[in-house]
């Protein structure tokens, strides 16, 4: 079976959306293809007629500051993000996560748009952006709408994109202000697939020795990538020293619905690790925010 019948390389968002809607068979966006082509090859994806390659659309390849936002086009490669001074300055958690994905060959083609659209609960780029207050720019034939990243996910592998009609154009992340910083960490297993047992991203703003605001995301914690709002609430306003990993925080973390994945990790192990990662990552962000 051929992996695809028709391969299109539109030069603009509207051409791309047009191509998606007018395909005679199933049409699918392809960015890096590092998830999609393997899914097709290995029979995890229904047959595709048309692949719409969005990597030659200039707008989707921009990485720049737009007013008070960092704009990262959906097809900017993970390698570019990992080494971009802008990304490191304003979205350090994301740059760190990008650096950890695959090897250089994969990162040269893999994109953030693909990482988000594939919608795995522990995708590293996605988890990093979850803590960065990211807005997703979703383009359709009619318009471009903004969707908060956490609203993008409906279930494992399912996004709020209207398939065959919409695509992700890019992401907007607020620029970093004084005393703000972020960090990303993950723990891998020596055997088996190269997805983290658990990853965690933290953003915070400090004032003196208090955390005045923070955002934490971790995966895989349920079917979709998610923030750990209860812990954020508990820690907000606290000093970094006391209460960081208080009993109360532990209790909240214990409530997270971690899964046991056979041959990978038990829920218990994940609970143990998430506490370590939380402290580790928060301290890292705290130091950076100073």
């Amino acid at each position: 079976m051929k992996l695809w019948q028709e391969y299109l390389r539109p030069n603009s968002i509207s051409e791309a959306v047009q191509a998606l809607t007018s395909s005679p068979g199933q049409a699918c966006v392809i960015a890096g293809g590092t998830d999609l082509l393997l899914d097709i090859q290995q029979g995890r994806h229904s047959n595709v007629h048309t692949l719409v390659d969005i990597t030659s659309i200039p707008e989707l390849n921009q990485l720049e500051v737009r007013r008070d936002l960092l704009y990262i086009g959906a097809t900017v490669s993970l390698n570019r993000i990992a080494s971009s001074p802008l990304a490191i300055e304003h979205a350090q958690a994301l740059a760190e996560a990008s650096r950890l994905i695959g090897g250089p060959q994969v990162r040269n083609v893999a994109t953030l748009g693909g990482n988000v659209a594939h919608a795995l609960p522990a995708a590293d780029g996605t988890i990093a952006m979850m803590s960065l207050d990211t807005q997703v720019l979703v383009a359709s034939q009619e318009n471009i709408r903004e969707v908060p990243l956490q609203k993008m996910f409906l279930g494992a592998g399912k996004t709020a994109l209207s398939t065959g009609k919409e695509l992700i154009a890019g992401f907007c992340i607020p620029l970093r202000k004084k005393n703000q910083a972020s960090a990303f960490k993950r723990i891998m297993r020596s055997q088996g697939i190269a997805l983290p047992i658990i990853n965690l991203s933290a953003w915070l703003q400090r004032e003196g020795d208090r955390i005045v605001d923070l955002r934490i995301a971790a995966g895989p914690a349920g079917a979709t990538p998610r923030r750990i709002a209860s812990v954020e609430d508990l820690l907000r306003g606290n000093t970094i020293k006391d209460g960081l990993i208080s009993d109360a925080v532990c209790e909240l973390l214990d409530q997270i619905q971690f899964r046991t994945s056979p041959q990978r990790a038990t829920a218990e192990y994940r609970h143990h690790l998430v506490k370590l990662l939380l402290v580790d990552t928060l301290l890292e962000a705290w130091d950076r925010a100073g």
Partner: protein
């Protein structure tokens, strides 16, 4: 829509019609014939397919060809420059050659292209940067340290314009001209330029593509099979089922119990069993046809482990039951031995199945010839056994089949059994056209034999002073659905199960059991890797119990000249075990101080990073060279002199990357006193090269090395007498000096003798069939093996006590190999063997649940990458064996055997947790650490 693809490859512009669904790798390989770009996995895991597009390395196996529109692509073929002065290698290519980074060569194009992209951007890469860049470019021969040093040398050369610095390798003083010197592989240049041809790179006119329909169920009776719809698919030329096999249905290396195809009403014994085979005009059509073949099964209860298989009520898989073999070793009186012991320890260990994961998946091509013969092109470890098995399936005499062995992208024992050879021969016979059968990675993982998963119970008895009084072991080996080499592997596991020690009383029982798992067969270490893990863990437990130093305890019991092994063999020579231990211990103490086995807390800053605890661990090992056990062990080699003065050595011993070709070249060069470059090596062609026997049991340097040496000697004698006669001198006046023959005062070019010999009706060649010293079957005392190699190793690990993660930081290894024929090749074997052991300890776990393979993609089966590579220090210990060529004995396996227990012993020393199940599971380790600390 554009219908034409414009792209530039290595400076040449191409305009090509678009083929929907084509990847860049396929375009390069099959349309442009740039076959240097390799496919190892087709799933973005191995990096073998790396090419550079607009200065960036990418994986061509998941790069749509159409995306390359307008792009500049550099492949491995584009790096070297050719002009009228010859070929000028890129410094990276040159460094890979001279630093010994090339072994089987299959991964090398990917390694070089990834490094090329790195050096284009960074001419002063640190070790860390190199490791970061090569993180996902896998080498199963695992010469990662050599790869790294080659990249450094190339970077220096590019930056300074100076020639590539030679490899730094200390070599022992020696009186030989060629033997013991650093020698570059004869095929290295082809391998770094992408010119090396592997089976899948071959093309034949009118070639068809085959695919095999696998059962997919582990235990069943095939009830119904319908190939009708598949036959109707346009492009399908032939579909065969069991009833179409003209000759024997069963094949097998020792016991023919493995059906090439399972017929209706017959038993399916594992998921990889074949029910039908297809030949079609394209690969795609062949694979599509598989979906149209309808097979129905009556599923049966699954036998999933060897202990279950041995139970009286277990389903019976073969007509003689589930017990392939009960293997027994008996020495002295164990009961008495335990009676006189001051301490007795007993523990049970479990090892996992593992996969060879050679980067080149299996491929065979059958080509029917007009004279009625069949040629098989395949990378096989035993060409003559392939010939016999293919001939039997066709119902032909052996001579009608010719196996033409191809370069092998790694074997490690996994290319000994028949895989596609019979299937493509049957299809070629049925269609009259050449047929290629290429496995994809998924099929390779499902079908070929694995390393035996084992359960090993060890009971040790010792005196207070440390002397072992008795060892009792009981092993259960999972040999899977078919025998393969299971009996031999488990025999080796059993005879070696008391470790490299002289033990007065030994009792070992092994049950090699059939199950519904993929078959288990040969794999570097051949059973000894498993039993060494068990017994070497026990030795450390004993040392702790006796409050003795673990090295001292081992030294006290170590085999030495004069010792009697478990099987009653007196070791008369060549036992360098104690020297190996001393070398490793001294170096370890030099680095770590007097207490290397005590935990060393490296980081402790609250929760952050957890606590990282380091410690060293130690282990020793031995491994037979050669088949042994009474099996006739022989090899043939032929050496011929040509009029231009060059020589050729021919044998069908197999080269799988281990460096045998270099060894043969050097042996002949040494004997004939010529430069190694003057010797060509022709191997693995059953028409042109004499049988070299199987390439297994670390036997080829010894057995075929000897055959080549004796053939060269015999040729030399023939030349000497020809010249002595011609010039009327005593033979003592004829000497061989650097490609010249000196006859009395006269020197003449060696090649000119060919004509003289021909004139006297003699061919300028000599064929020798070498028989290794006779061995005795197990149970009959005497020499069960004609030589053993010995090793000791120490590993330093770092355990994160908060996460359970383990890293290996350094390894010191000493191997008694008799004699290092080629230090450069040996270095690659040491690095690679050690990394394989490290993989088995930490990263590799082939998981089968109820007969279903879970790890059916490379993404799920992790082999070590450059990022896992510790700092490796290697000592070569040379206790020559008299009969071996220049004293050499086996190398290939011994190097990987002590690695696993040296790592697990180090883990114990660091955190007090005894690992008794492989691979080390970080989560389990963490909970045990927590339990210990309350």
């Amino acid at each position: 829509m554009e219908n034409i693809l414009n792209l530039n490859v290595n400076g040449t512009n191409y305009e090509l019609p678009i083929i929907p669904g084509e990847t860049l790798a396929d375009l390069l390989r099959y349309r442009l014939n740039l076959t240097g770009t390799k496919i190892g996995c087709n799933e973005a895991e191995c990096g073998a397919c790396t090419v550079v597009i607009d200065s960036e390395p990418v994986l061509s196996c998941i790069y749509p060809a159409e995306r390359a529109q307008g792009k500049n692509i550099v492949t491995i073929e584009g790096l070297a420059k050719q002009d009228n002065k010859g070929i000028h290698l890129h410094p990276l290519q040159e460094a890979f050659v001279t630093h010994g980074a090339v072994q089987c060569g299959f991964c090398i194009p990917g390694q070089i292209m990834t490094s090329y992209a790195l050096l284009e951007q960074n001419q002063t890469p640190t070790s860390q940067e190199i490791r970061y860049a090569l993180k996902d470019t896998l080498c199963r021969c695992a010469g990662y340290p050599s790869i790294e040093s080659a990249i450094q040398a190339a970077a220096d050369s590019l930056r300074t314009g100076q020639p590539v610095a030679p490899v730094e390798l200390s070599i022992a003083e020696n009186k030989n001209r060629v033997i013991g010197q650093i020698q570059v592989r004869p095929d290295a240049v082809e391998k770094v330029t992408g010119k090396a041809i592997f089976t899948d790179d071959l093309k034949f006119k009118d070639m068809l593509f085959a695919a095999a329909k696998r059962a997919g169920v582990p235990h069943a009776i095939l009830r119904h099979l319908d190939i009708g719809r598949a036959k109707d698919l346009p492009g399908v030329i032939s579909i065969l089922t069991a009833q179409d096999i003209p000759g024997d249905v069963y094949h097998g290396l020792v016991i023919p119990d493995w059906p090439s195809m399972v017929g209706v009403g017959e038993r399916i014994r594992y998921v990889g069993d074949t029910v039908a085979i297809v030949a079609a005009e394209t690969q795609e059509i062949a694979r599509e046809a598989l979906y149209l073949i309808e097979a129905e099964y009556d599923e049966l209860p699954v036998v999933s482990d060897p202990v279950q298989a041995h139970k009286p009520n277990a389903p019976v898989l073969h007509k003689n039951g589930n017990l392939l073999k009960h293997i027994k070793v008996r020495k002295g009186d164990v009961e008495e031995g335990f009676n006189i012991a001051d301490v007795i320890l007993e523990h049970t260990f479990y090892t996992s199945m593992t996969d060879h994961a050679f980067i080149e998946p299996e491929c065979s091509i059958a080509v029917p010839r007009l004279d009625g013969r069949m040629e098989i092109y395949v990378g096989s470890q035993i060409p003559y056994a392939d010939r016999e098995q293919v001939a039997r399936a066709l119902g032909w005499p052996d001579e009608r089949v010719r196996v033409i062995g191809q370069l092998m992208g790694g074997g490690f024992g996994g290319k000994e059994d028949i895989m596609g050879q019979i299937h493509c021969a049957l299809l070629a016979n049925a269609t009259g056209r050449p047929v290629k059968l290429l496995f994809d990675r998924h099929e390779s993982l499902l079908v070929h034999p694995k390393r035996h998963a084992t359960r090993i119970r060890v009971k040790l008895g010792a005196r207070r002073d440390g002397h072992l009084t008795a060892v009792e072991t009981e092993l259960y080996g999972d040999t899977g659905a078919y025998a393969s080499l299971g009996e031999k592997v488990m025999t080796r596991a059993t005879t070696h199960s008391a470790g490299p020690y002289e033990v007065p009383n030994v009792w070992a029982d092994c049950y090699a059991m059939y199950t519904n798992n993929p078959p288990a067969g040969a794999f570097r270490g051949f059973g000894v890797l498993q039993s060494a893990f068990a017994v070497e863990s026990m030795m450390d437990m004993l040392a702790e119990k006796l409050k003795m130093d673990p090295v001292e305890l081992r030294r006290l019991n170590a085999l030495q000249v004069g010792s009697i092994t478990n099987t009653g063999q007196v070791l008369r020579e060549s036992v360098g075990l104690t020297e190996c231990m001393d070398k490793v211990r001294d170096e370890m103490i030099r680095r770590a101080g007097p207490n290397p086995f005590l935990p060393n807390l490296t980081v402790e800053d609250g929760l952050r990073n957890g606590k990282l605890v380091r410690a060293w661990g130690f282990a020793a090992a031995y491994k037979n060279t050669g088949l042994g056990g009474g099996a006739p062990d022989k090899s043939g080699a032929e050496v011929e002199l040509y009029p231009d003065g060059s020589l050729e050595v021919r044998t069908s011993a197999a080269e799988l990357g281990q460096g045998l070709v270099t060894v043969l070249q050097m042996v002949v060069a040494e004997e004939m006193n010529v430069n190694a470059q003057n010797v060509r090596v022709l191997i693995m062609d059953t028409d042109l090269t004499p049988d070299g026997g199987p390439t297994t049991a670390s036997r080829q340097t010894y057995v075929t090395g000897n055959a080549a040496r004796l053939a060269a000697r015999s040729l030399k004698q023939a030349i000497t007498s020809t010249l002595a006669e011609k010039y009327d001198l005593a033979p003592g006046h004829v000497k061989f000096i650097e490609g010249l023959a000196q006859v009395g005062e006269k020197t003449i070019p060696l090649g000119s003798v060919v004509a003289d010999m021909q004139a006297s009706g003699q061919a300028a060649r000599a064929l020798v069939e070498y028989w290794a010293p006779e061995t005795k079957p197990l149970g009959q005392a005497g020499d069960m093996h004609f030589a053993f190699s010995f090793a000791a190793q120490a590993a330093e690990v770092e355990v994160n006590t908060q996460t359970g993660e383990v890293r290996v930081l350094q390894v010191i290894s000493a191997n008694d190999v008799g004699r290092a024929i080629n230090p450069l090749g040996l270095q690659g074997q040491v690095e690679g063997g050690l990394m394989m052991g490290l993989g088995h300890a930490l990263t590799e776990n082939f998981i089968v649940e109820e007969g279903i393979v879970v790890t059916d993609r490379l993404a799920r089966y992790r082999i070590p990458s450059i990022t896992h590579t510790p700092q490796i220090t290697s000592f070569i210990v040379e206790h020559p064996t008299q009969e071996g060529p220049y004293g050499a004995k086996g190398v290939g396996e011994i190097v990987s055997i002590p690695t696993v227990p040296s790592i697990t012993n180090a883990i114990y020393n660091a955190v007090g947790v005894r690992v008794d199940r492989l691979p080390v599971d970080q989560e389990v380790l963490l909970w045990e650490i927590k339990n210990k600390n309350g």
